[in-house]
């Protein structure tokens, strides 16, 4: 089989798994997860084959591994769809395949496969636990998820969407994959649909991302209108058309389209001001759906932004002032990074912290793209996917362990509340060490962790690009990141247990810890592929493979992967903020005791409440958008337009027609039409009566009649035409 064929085969196994589970195996839990695992595993295998095939090839960006077929005829041309693998795709494929496979494995454990059925469990609600006997005592143990198979079907479909998006060579199939993921995200957030909060969150996520998608669709339409194609290579080839002025805000077409597509990214990757859905998305099955919304799907937005960086940066060279679109990206990105990091400071829910951290890190990447640090953004995308996946799975593991404790003790505490934890280090060692690695990577702990290398590159990109404001914003948010990460680790794992549940928390089974370990390995080692050449001491020990490989994607490597690493300022900055943030966090929270209020609450005062309530954004949106929309729907549309105007008009028409109908009936219908009908019927009956005699029921008589007619006819015709 040609390797090109393999590309478009990648998304297929999960899709088949989805259908197989939905149609056939949904009654059988084991079969369902095996089918899903087989789908994910095959896709993983194919991805790895492709990845290792392409990393050796020269000049992959110019000649990507591609295959395409004609799909829809559009007049004289064909709309082609196809799959292609270029460096960016290869790298994305790599982390997507790994993280997806790990989620699948992890989910088996998280949904309590092998545990008894719950006593009061409902489809649509999280499992409540089942009564069981253990060493002669009656205890409550975890119970298996009631909609186990459905979950695996949904994440299989999700994986299909992600793979489709990654391998497609055109915007159409990318958009299809994008929307499939949107659907899956909706279904997974609302997985426990019997909980009102989950329902609301699902709707919120769906609608919020839809705002971005509408703009993205506009961008696609504009792109198709202008370049006549949705293929990446065709689009990037038609520079001259795209550089024309669009007449809107004085932007070029390229800039305008890139801006529209970027709004799509904002929706998907939860950038300010469309970030509000992501924290609420944590209503899904705890770590797994959260992880989808944090490590994989939101990456799709960044992936799109990376894809369209050439469009955004069209006509821009390193050292020149940024284009309008890039400015927007840099502004929104860096603002989101700082803004989300501040909110994360004040959250107590272990997942909410990570959710805001995700928003913040995604902002980092956008900001990096905004200042032209393309490779750095891609690099951070890769490392972030690994360590954030690790963190989410780790938090899920913690929650799972806490749930075990809650069920065991019967104590009523929220298993996600960090203030109720503490001391889990000894209870859950594997989780602790892997979580620690993830946390350090997130904070950018120097030299060993992947996060350090990628973050350092972003900072140096901003610094070397001369974007001071961006640089400082990012540095501050890096400090905050390190701080809240350490706060989280300290509150969760260190110190003494602050609840009985925490005392009884236990380590999880290997199906949950194995993915943690695998991801932890990547969280450390993924950084080694991109150590800049110019880095003091370490630079050049390992080749800077990443920059060379992904750097092909942009014509000129804009930021100093190797050469540009002139100044030592960004390095020192990142060292200081990472270590400083970590130390401060530990210092502040190491003494946190049971029932205490947060150490930041007093010094920050009113600001803390703002942070706690996420700057009241939800309330703001409710006031600006939701209430007016309700008013328009309820009062304006329904009461005024619909009831008064339209109904009144219709009633009037109906009255007129009624009157007219009555006149017509009495004046025309009854005498003329009915009369004619009666006469016809009467005549027909008379005629039938008269002709009845002909129908004797004797076949042969009929035959005689028929043949006589034929004979007469033929004779007539011969007479007519022979003479």
């Amino acid at each position: 089989m040609a390797i090109e064929t393999l590309i478009w085969l990648i998304p297929l196994p999960p899709l088949l798994a989805f259908f197989a589970i939905v149609l056939f195996t949904r009654q059988n839990r084991a079969l369902s997860h095996w089918v899903a695992l087989a789908g994910a595993g095959l896709a993983w295998l194919a991805s790895m084959l492709i990845f290792f095939q392409v990393i050796g090839s020269e000049d992959l960006a110019k000649h990507p591994l591609a295959t395409a077929i004609n799909w829809l005829p559009t007049g004289k041309t064909w709309l082609q769809v196809g799959a292609a693998v270029d460096p960016l795709t290869a790298v994305t494929l790599f982390f997507v395949a790994w993280t997806v496979l790990m989620i699948f494995i992890y989910s088996i454990g998280y949904h309590n496969y092998g545990q008894p059925k719950g006593d009061h469990d409902h489809a649509g609600l999280p499992p409540h636990g089942a009564a069981a006997k253990e060493h002669g005592h009656r205890v409550t143990v975890m119970s298996v998820e009631p909609m186990y198979s459905r979950f695996f079907a949904l994440i299989s479909l999700f994986a299909f969407g992600m793979y489709t998006l990654v391998v497609s060579n055109n915007l159409l199939t990318l958009f299809i994959g994008w929307e499939i993921m949107g659907l899956c995200s909706y279904l997974l957030i609302g997985f426990w649909y019997a909980r009102p909060s989950a329902r609301d969150a699902a709707v919120k996520a769906f609608l919020t991302t839809r705002v971005g998608d509408v703009f993205m669709l506009l961008g696609l339409a504009a792109l198709y209108k202008i370049t006549g194609s949705l293929n990446y290579s065709d689009i990037f080839g038609s520079t001259t058309v795209l550089m024309q002025n669009s007449g809107i805000l004085g932007m070029t077409w390229a800039g305008l389209i890139a801006l529209l597509l970027f709004i799509g990214t904002m929706g998907k990757s939860a950038q300010f001001p469309l970030h509000v859905w992501l924290p609420d998305a944590m209503e899904g099955p705890t770590p797994v759906s959260a992880m989808i919304h944090a490590a994989t799907m939101v990456s799709a937005g960044i992936y799109l932004a990376l894809r369209f960086f050439p469009l955004a940066a069209m006509g821009w060279e390193p050292g020149m002032p940024l284009t309008a679109t890039m400015t927007v990206m840099a502004t929104i990105g860096s603002f989101t990074a700082l803004f989300a990091a501040t909110i994360a400071l004040a959250q107590n829910d272990i997942k909410k912290v990570l959710a805001y951290s995700t928003i913040s890190q995604l902002g980092y990447m956008i900001a990096a793209l905004g200042v032209g640090a393309y490779v750095a953004a891609a690099f951070h995308l890769l490392t972030h996917a690994f360590f954030k996946a690790l963190l989410f799975l780790g938090s899920g593991s913690v929650i799972h362990g806490m749930e075990h404790g809650v069920l065991h003790t019967g104590e009523h505490v929220d298993p996600q509340d960090m203030t109720q934890m503490g001391g889990l280090k000894s209870k859950m060692p594997v989780t602790f060490w892997t979580f620690l690695i993830g946390g350090l990577a997130l904070s950018g702990f120097p030299l060993v962790t992947a996060g350090f290398w990628s973050k350092d590159e972003i900072l140096s990109g901003a610094f070397n690009g001369g974007q001071w404001v961006v640089f400082i914003t990012l540095a501050v948010s890096a400090l905050l990141t390190a701080f809240y990460t350490m706060r989280q680790i300290t509150l969760t794992f260190l110190g003494a247990p602050r609840s009985k549940a925490a005392e009884h928390a236990t380590e999880n089974k290997w199906v949950m810890t194995l993915p943690l370990v695998v991801l932890a390995v990547f969280a450390v080692s993924a950084g080694w592929v991109g150590i800049p050449k110019g880095f003091p001491l370490l630079g050049g020990i390992l080749p800077d493979w990443f920059a060379e490989f992904v750097g092909q994607m942009v014509r000129t490597a804009p930021e100093g992967g190797g050469e540009g690493h002139g100044s030592i300022v960004p390095l020192i900055t990142s060292l200081v903020v990472a270590l400083g943030g970590l130390y401060l966090g530990w210092l502040t929270y190491r003494k946190f005791g049971r029932g205490q209020s947060d150490a930041l609450e007093k010094p920050l005062g009113a600001l803390y409440a703002w942070l706690r309530n996420k700057y009241y954004f939800d309330e703001l949106y409710a006031m600006i958008f939701v209430k007016p929309a309700r008013w328009v729907a309820e009062t304006f549309s329904y009461q005024w337009i619909d009831r008064k105007l339209i109904d009144g008009f219709l009633n009037g028409v109906a009255r007129i027609v009624w009157w007219l109908g009555e006149r017509l009936r009495n004046g025309f219908d009854l005498p003329v039409i009915n009369g004619a009908g009666d006469v016809t019927a009467e005549g027909t009956r008379e005629m039938g009566h008269w002709m009845k005699g002909m129908q004797t029921g004797r076949v042969q008589q009929y035959m005689v009649v028929a043949i006589s007619v034929v004979v007469v006819l033929i004779a007539f015709l011969i007479y007519r035409y022979s003479g």
């Binding site: 042969q700 004979v711 004779a715 011969i718």
Partner: protein, 171 residues
Amino acid sequence: MPMQIFFLIIAAVTLISAAMVVTVRRMMHAALWLVLSLFGVAVLFAMLESSFYAVVQVIVYIGAIAILVIFAVMLTRHMMDDTGRQIAKNWWAALVAVVIAFGGMVVLVLSWSRFQVGPGTAPSELLLLDFGKALTAPNQFAIPFEVSSVLLLAALIGSIFIAVERKGGQK
């Protein structure tokens, strides 16, 4: 000349047995005469160098239709078996009409010059393949072919429906 004699013999056999079909009193014999007559038609087909239809004639008419007719005769034999008139009373009127029709048509046939032509070139061996392709080619006979298969299916279902013995309270 031998071919013409052979033709005359076959034609005579065919027509005489056809005449027997419509006149003979016992239905079973009529059916057997029918078989002979149909067989004569098959030979005529073979003489027209259409061996395919000659064989198909034997399969369809003798192998299936005639046997079905015989079957029906056997099933309904109690009523009509060999007793009473088999021919309508005013058969002579029909005979006159038929003879007139025959005469008229023969006159017609003999008066057209093209009816006197001899056979043209012999059909090629590959004709059967061409015929098969023509039956399935969409721009030739695919639709009539499909329609006739639908007709056969309808006949199949219909005759089963008609002939099936209904169980229970059928009036």
